[in-house]
């Protein structure tokens, strides 16, 4: 099925994507810290601070608690990082088609997104600390809470594309090729904006950032899930946090703002690739600023029961309204450009 040249291509691109994901992920964490610091009237650390932190964590002692289950405890951080990088292989980067784009669609990405969280849960339970156990329970509850609105977003967008007669609406290739906004009419655009709002709210929960950081909650659980992690293991989780940030922003970019610079302005081929990459990075930073940095400086932490009600009731409702608007939009004649 897969030829040897294709296998070599996939392996090579996996290596490139890994390096790219880690570097850009850490860079995003640095940008986030700097932006948040400026909004709080602080100077903040230099943007390369996450790289320094990572290097420091690597030379620190890797403590494994006595009552931990060592193999799960050590495996969880590696699995978490690996699974977050795998998601990147399915997401378009700028104008570059995803290396594994032909083998999986948005549904697969949704499934893959749960793996880093599950790894953290497993690692938390395996560390044998009451703080980590409480954190792990909270992480599971949070996951159950945000999966529902996230599913609504994915299904709604794909369904609208399908209604417009587009082939394979779930593949990221078609979603990027036919942006929702160009397919939908005015009602659909309002619906799309509501879905964008839901996506922006799911992002901090997926990344366990304030206000949905109950599973780590520094002042309550002293780091919760990660309380027993140190040294190399913590560095792996730190990297996967960076990669996850990139993944979440890249999904939002792919679904909602997929345009490339090269499709708007004509550029020479070599320049276009670089310009598209930079443009993509800009979009990712924009998404991260609005859904992570801005939210986390403007809000207090929720209690875990509030997290559930926020996602199931309010955001679930907003998502369903968005879905209904998209349906109404498709049902109305001559609403879409392509329909």
């Amino acid at each position: 099925m897969i030829g040897s040249w294709e296998l070599a291509f996939i392996v090579l691109s996996a290596i490139i994507v890994t390096i790219y994901g880690i570097v850009v992920g850490l860079f995003l964490l640095g940008v986030d810290r700097k932006l948040a610091a400026h909004m709080q009237a602080r100077v903040g650390p230099p943007i390369r601070q996450p790289f320094i932190d990572f290097r420091k964590l690597l030379i620190k002692e890797n403590v494994i608690p006595e009552n931990a289950i060592p193999w799960i405890f050590n495996l969880a951080p590696v699995m978490s990082l690996a699974s977050s990088i795998v998601i990147l292989l399915y997401l378009p980067i700028g104008s570059i088609y995803p290396p594994l784009g032909a083998y999986g669609d948005l549904i697969l990405v949704m499934y893959l997104l749960t793996i880093p969280a599950l790894c953290m849960v497993a690692g938390g339970f395996a560390s044998g600390s009451p703080y980590a156990s409480v954190g792990a329970q909270r992480e599971m509850v949070t996951m159950i809470a945000y999966e529902f609105p996230l599913a609504i977003v994915v299904v709604a967008v794909a369904w609208r594309l399908a209604a417009a007669g587009i082939q394979d609406p779930f593949t990221l290739g078609s979603i990027a090729a036919y942006p929702l906004w160009s397919v939908a009419g005015p009602l659909g655009i309002i619906g799309g904006l509501l879905l964008l709002l839901v996506m922006a709210a799911v992002t901090p929960a997926e990344l366990s950032r304030i206000p949905f950081d109950t599973q780590e909650a520094e002042t309550e659980l002293a780091g919760g899930l990660l309380v027993e992690y140190s040294g190399k293991n913590l560095a792996m989780f730190y990297l996967s946090q960076g990669v996850k940030t990139l993944v979440m922003a890249a999904i939002a970019v792919a679904v909602f703002i997929p345009w490339n610079l090269s499709s708007i302005v004509t550029l020479p081929e070599g320049v276009a690739l670089v310009a598209d990459l930079l443009f993509f990075l800009g979009k990712v930073i924009l998404v991260m600023f609005f859904s992570v940095s801005l939210v986390r400086v403007a809000m207090a932490r929720f209690q875990i029961n509030r997290v559930v009600s926020v996602f199931w009731m309010y955001l679930g409702l907003i998502g369903l309204v968005g879905l209904l608007l998209l349906m109404a939009d498709a049902a109305l004649p001559a609403a879409g450009v392509l329909a």
């Binding site: 009451p130 703080y131 409480v134 304030i210 002042t219 400086v297 207090a300 875990i304 029961n305």
Partner: protein, 410 residues
């Protein structure tokens, strides 16, 4: 998660002695059911430093510098209370101007302490932006305190018999500027803390202490006032210059129209008191009479007076956290015969139990912080027998107290 609690076995979560939720060491043991607190116990005494023991080997002028260091935040309250006790024993008449300066510094201390607390509370809720903003506002009062006393903490301004520095006319402008800035910013702070939805969600009806419980547990200061207990030493027992000043107890119903005794009410009381302190400082500046700032500027002479004194007295001061209480007994010797400090937090700690019971883990940090505990002030004793710490039973404690009283009566 908390459903079906009858079937789940409770598990124990220890918090402390050091934990990010605690600014000072204290040991909590929570018996949990899911996310809900079923029972709670705490053990203070982790920060005992033996300051009283050191004091009983020093003269009152030296002790004043120890009392400055009992607490880093209320650096003037302890010294104020101690000096007032010694002055009563030695019958030293404090000049009126010194009384006003003492009150003025004490009010600045209240401003910076309450703002510090508000920032910590925001941090406990996971709202770090508000922490940074509040502490930036607080800096201004710290600058004024430094201008007036020479120090940001451990002010060293109060001396037995008066104060060590006068406030000169040029400094009035500095104080005035600071007060204007605070009066401008206080409505903004109230809006940020009290109108914010996420703060109200976390603080309304959380950590409730009823009026009755507040009375029964003898709580003091903002903790008691937030439960609707009308107590404020500045009003009930006007010491120093407070007799001449207009001080009315701040109660939460003045802002919200009702008293619920929750964390939110404690924020209300403290923030309103910042505004009240600005008003008191204004009154102090207007009414401050001219004259000496100390009854006896020569230290040697002052020591001689103190050395002759004998008797016992109590010094009470309304510290930012509530009543600060110093008992001193002198017997015509250089060092006091006995000295007992009861910090405001000592009276407030027990209110943690009814506040925490039935709440969630998420609420522990903010509830613990809501009484603004100062444990290094409170910890007066740590019982250690052999290698282990001991807990004294009520009977044992009573026997020891009786023995101590007998010793004093001899």
């Amino acid at each position: 998660m908390s459903e079906g609690s009858g079937r789940k076995a409770p598990y124990i979560i220890p918090i402390g002695p050091t934990h990010p939720a605690l600014k000072e060491p204290v040991m909590f043991t929570f018996e949990m059911e899911g996310e809900m607190i079923k029972e709670v116990d705490f053990a203070p005494g982790q920060a005992h430093r033996g300051i009283e023991w050191m004091g009983m080997r020093r003269n009152p002028v030296q002790i004043v510098h120890l009392t400055d260091r009992i607490c880093g935040i209320c650096g003037v309250s302890h010294t104020f209370a101690f000096a007032r006790a010694v002055e009563q024993i030695a019958e030293i008449e404090v000049p009126e101007r010194a009384d006003y300066i003492r009150a003025l510094i004490a009010e600045f201390e209240r401003i910076q302490s309450h703002l510090l607390w508000a920032g910590v509370a925001a941090h406990e809720l996971g709202f770090d932006s508000l922490l940074h903003l509040t502490w930036r506002v607080r800096e201004q009062s710290m600058d004024v305190i430094e201008n007036l006393t020479g120090n940001r903490v451990n002010y060293g301004i109060i001396q037995v018999g008066g104060v060590r520095r006068d406030i000169v006319p040029e400094q009035h402008q500095v104080i005035e500027d600071c007060l204007n800035a605070y009066e401008g910013v206080i409505s903004k702070l109230l809006e940020l803390f009290l109108d914010d939805r996420s703060i109200a969600l976390r603080c309304r009806d959380v950590g409730v202490l009823s009026h009755r419980e507040a009375l029964e547990l003898c709580t003091v200061g903002p903790t008691a006032r937030a439960s609707g207990v009308n107590v404020d030493l500045r009003q009930d027992y006007p010491y120093s210059a407070y007799g001449d000043l207009d001080v009315r107890t701040i109660l939460p119903d003045q802002y919200a129209g009702e008293t619920r005794g929750d964390v939110y009410d404690r924020i209300v009381v403290r923030l309103l008191e910042v505004g009240q302190s600005c008003g008191i400082i204004r009154q102090c500046l207007d009414a401050m009479p001219a004259g000496e700032v100390t009854a006896e500027p020569k230290i040697a002479k002052l020591l001689a007076i103190c050395k002759k004194a004998s008797g016992e007295a109590i010094g009470r001061v309304e510290a930012p956290r509530g009543e600060c209480f110093h008992y001193v007994r002198m017997e015509a010797q250089e060092a006091p015969h006995s000295w007992k400090v009861k910090a405001s937090s000592y009276s407030n700690l027990m209110s943690w139990i009814p506040m925490l019971r039935g709440e969630q883990i998420a609420d522990i940090p903010i509830i613990v912080a809501s009484i603004d505990p100062c444990l290094s002030c409170t910890d007066r004793v740590a019982v250690i027998r052999g290698q282990r710490r001991d807990i004294l039973s009520k009977e044992e404690l009573h026997r020891l107290s009786v023995e101590a009283t007998r010793r004093l009566q001899v």
